[in-house]
Subunit: 501 residues, 2 copies
């Protein structure tokens, strides 16, 4: 096989996989947004999803695919795009070929059904109905680890799927550092007795929708190349480079939830929108989960919860809700940064967020290791919340049933949330060396921020490995100290407590 033949094979495979990806994405969007597809049709839909996954699998795990990437391996004449294409094909092949095809198909059908069961179970706070699905899903995860092989811990085989090279050893160290830093700071804050003014009241959904339209423009989401839907659990989705979508959720009694989940999803969406369109055909719109999360957190927290953004947000809020006429930018800055122990991850504040992730990390690690069973999961969950956050969920809906990930089969995904959040602080430190972002943001113009991110992170998609992207953008490899320092400085100042712990 010549180099050109090998490249053509891989480009054709990617073109077909992208076509499948487009319809797969839209099918998922159709199930979950704006009322969703009829629940009675989910059985039929599961067949279609399983079929699509099988079709992708056939192209990823094929003899000619393997021959093609093996042909290109180590070829020094490849362009960066071609090298990344071959590297991506090899990685997908290895991840997928480890799993027998019939097992994968059964698993897809299982998770489609589980996701459906989970939706009802969450409404009814009924853990028992979803437990048998979780048992099968974690059992499958353990077998995936065995099929793929691993060093030291079976969980490593699952972590690597979402973030190349991520390991239990690294995460244990990372979370230990966070625990040492955040838990005492949180205690100081709680002990300080300071209680900033809260945003209370009822905020009509229709006004929140109108607010969203302006908000997404302000933060830089290009709606001419995207779409906004409404769902239960917000997410961002790439259909193709000119169709990146965010699904948001509104709560009449919780305005900030809608605002910040929208900004968060915009962070993801802008990343997708800013990748060079010519990289699409090489499959380079498939970025590291950790980096992706760094972009959503960057926009949501570092920008969206900054003092500089407060007057901008206040102006937007005032355009829809008269009650904000009485608020100052300082009031709002404090209100969007209230730090306190809470039950629900996606509504957690910036300071405690990673503790929520830590609970899930510890649980996944134990479940995959087989130390505990899914039957024990809620009790384990509740005990850890009590230990790390000092609160105990009164219902499973507010506890172990709150996230969709496990029902969807995503084991090993959660840790990237905390990792990405830590990346974002390191990126901020780098950006501040050249960009006076606070002046721009305070003036309601985020282009200096988005421009820097596009230049240093977004535009290349997955052309480079995550650690390489971080190195190129910040001049050093991952260093969690930026994150702990950022949190300590910000919250020490906000709550006027000592930063010496």
């Amino acid at each position: 096989m010549t180099k050109q033949e090998a490249l053509n094979i891989l480009l054709n495979k990617v073109a077909e996989i992208l076509a499948i990806g487009q319809v797969h994405s839209v099918f998922g969007w159709d199930s979950t947004t704006d009322g969703g597809a009829p629940v009675s049709s989910f059985g039929y839909r599961g067949n279609a999803m399983a079929f699509l996954s099988g079709e992708s699998y056939k192209r990823i795990v094929a003899d000619d695919t393997r021959e093609a990437f093996e042909t290109l391996e180590g070829d020094a004449t490849l362009t960066a795009e071609e090298a990344a294409l071959a590297r991506g094909a090899a990685r997908s092949y290895k991840l997928n070929s480890a799993i027998p095809k019939d097992e994968l198909e059964k698993f897809i059908a299982l998770t489609t059904e589980a996701d459906n069961v989970w939706r009802t179970a969450k409404e009814k706070s009924d853990y028992a109905s979803v437990e048998p699905y979780y048992a099968k899903i974690f059992d499958f995860s353990r077998r995936v680890a065995d099929w793929r092989g691993y060093e030291n811990h079976p969980y490593n085989a699952l972590l690597d799927e979402y973030e190349i090279g991520l390991s239990v050893a690294a995460l244990d160290k990372f979370f230990d550092a966070l625990r040492l830093s955040i838990v005492p700071l949180l205690r100081k804050i709680t002990d300080s007795g300071i209680q900033p003014k809260k945003i209370d009241g009822s905020f009509p959904i229709e006004n929140q929708r109108l607010l969203t339209r302006e908000l997404v423009k302000t933060v830089g989401f290009d709606t001419s190349r995207g779409r906004i839907g409404e769902t239960v659990h917000p997410y961002c989705m790439l259909v193709n480079p000119n169709d990146v979508r965010i699904a948001v959720a509104y709560h009449e009694d919780d305005l900030l939830s809608g605002v910040y989940s929208t900004i968060h999803e915009c962070g993801h969406a802008i990343y997708d929108q800013n990748v060079r369109a010519d990289l699409y055909k090489y499959g380079m719109h498939d970025m590291s989960m950790g980096l992706h999360e760094s972009q959503s957190r960057f926009l949501e927290n570092i920008i969206g919860r900054s003092r500089a953004f407060a007057p901008v947000l206040l102006e937007l809020l005032r355009s829809q809700f008269d009650s904000f006429k009485k608020w100052s930018a300082d009031d709002l800055y404090s209100a969007v940064n209230i730090a306190k122990p809470s039950l629900v991850r996606i509504e957690a504040d910036e300071l405690t967020y990673s503790l929520h992730v830590m609970v899930r990390y510890e649980i996944e690690k134990k479940l995959v290791q087989g130390e505990v069973s899914t039957k024990d999961l809620p009790e384990l969950w509740n005990a850890m919340y009590e230990e790390y956050l000092g609160v105990r969920p009164p219902t499973h809906a507010l506890g172990a049933l709150q996230d969709s990930h496990w029902a969807g089969g995503a084991v090993g995904y959660f840790p990237t949330y905390a990792l990405g959040t830590a990346y974002s602080a390191q990126l901020l430190h780098a950006m501040e060396k050249t960009v006076d972002w606070q002046s721009g943001v305070a003036a309601g113009d985020l282009s200096c921020v988005i421009g820097w991110l596009k230049q240093n992170v977004h535009q290349d998609g997955s052309l480079y490995m995550p650690e390489e992207v971080l190195q190129r953008a910040t001049g050093e490899s991952f260093n969690p100290t930026y994150y702990t320092s950022y949190l300590s400085e910000k919250f020490t100042k906000l709550y006027r407590v000592s930063q010496f712990l």
Copy 2:
């Protein structure tokens, strides 16, 4: 190959084709409803659509598919379902294998783009921008006819795709009869000077949405196994037996347009919903276009525009619009049956509707024959409207650009609209022998109608050939006299003109 092997091959192919069909449908729905996908993404989407069509094609036109249906041909031990499965596979194979695969792929990509261009062209009434696409599409149609082969007229090869065995000879006869009957009746009505009270005013979209929710329930659409969206050009779509959708359109200044297009699409949807679910795996939810249209027209016109339904509709209208408090059921009955020459097919009244179809039939016939060019299409269109209907379109948007069919590549489809409408009158005649439908409908209960249709038409899906369905339901083969008699009686009475022409 044994009988069982052959059946298994066909059942597996159908299962995959249905999976592709599900995602294909949803992808189309996503493009066209509730705001639609970003226009800038249509190029990428075209690739996905072409891929899906190619994947269906590969399963329809395969050596093992051919071997399987050939194995089953003439096997007297097959059940009705198995025989229909084999017959369907053979028909699809023959229709599709005639077209070279690369030509089909190019055509799918072309029509995806053409549909997009048409949307903009219609808005701007700009025929020139879409003409090159029409030229290519009709050129392709002519080549399809050549590839498939035909007797007497190339158009026959295209007509047969939408309604088995339909021919120019039969349609010429059918339209001649309609022309002889309807054109003079319409003239009498116009000459009578009778002008029933019209529904005027502005009807807020939000109220029309609320009306729709009740209306669809009243006519029998099961929303727990379906979904309602909003679009430009209304349509009905099957995703799977538990997900049948209607896309409707509202106009603030034209209440009846929304009401009757909704009832029309419900007629299609109820047909799809009533097919026995166990027939799905045999591919038997793929009914004749003529029969499908007979069901939408039955609900829209025969029931929806009947005197019996008038008080029911009036009650629904009053629940949203106070202005109907002044209306009587007789007023409403007359208002929804105003017959007069008009420009737009989908807004045409029951009497003149088939004349609109006739214009399209004549044009398609000439274009496919090569007698005229797509450059001449608007002039031909306008001249025929003047000749048959006595009106000349002031813009192309109200003329040759009004329908999406040609841009979508559907040449030979239009005639089934008139044919189905004629079927519906024949079905009414049969139903009246045993069902006192007017009492049920007047009481707001359409179950006697839907029940009869389900029993006699719906439940078997495409298990039987269209002419067989008609024969079983009405005791005789297609007879257009029922249609002309029905129209003459109804409109003679409504307009108090003589029925002796």
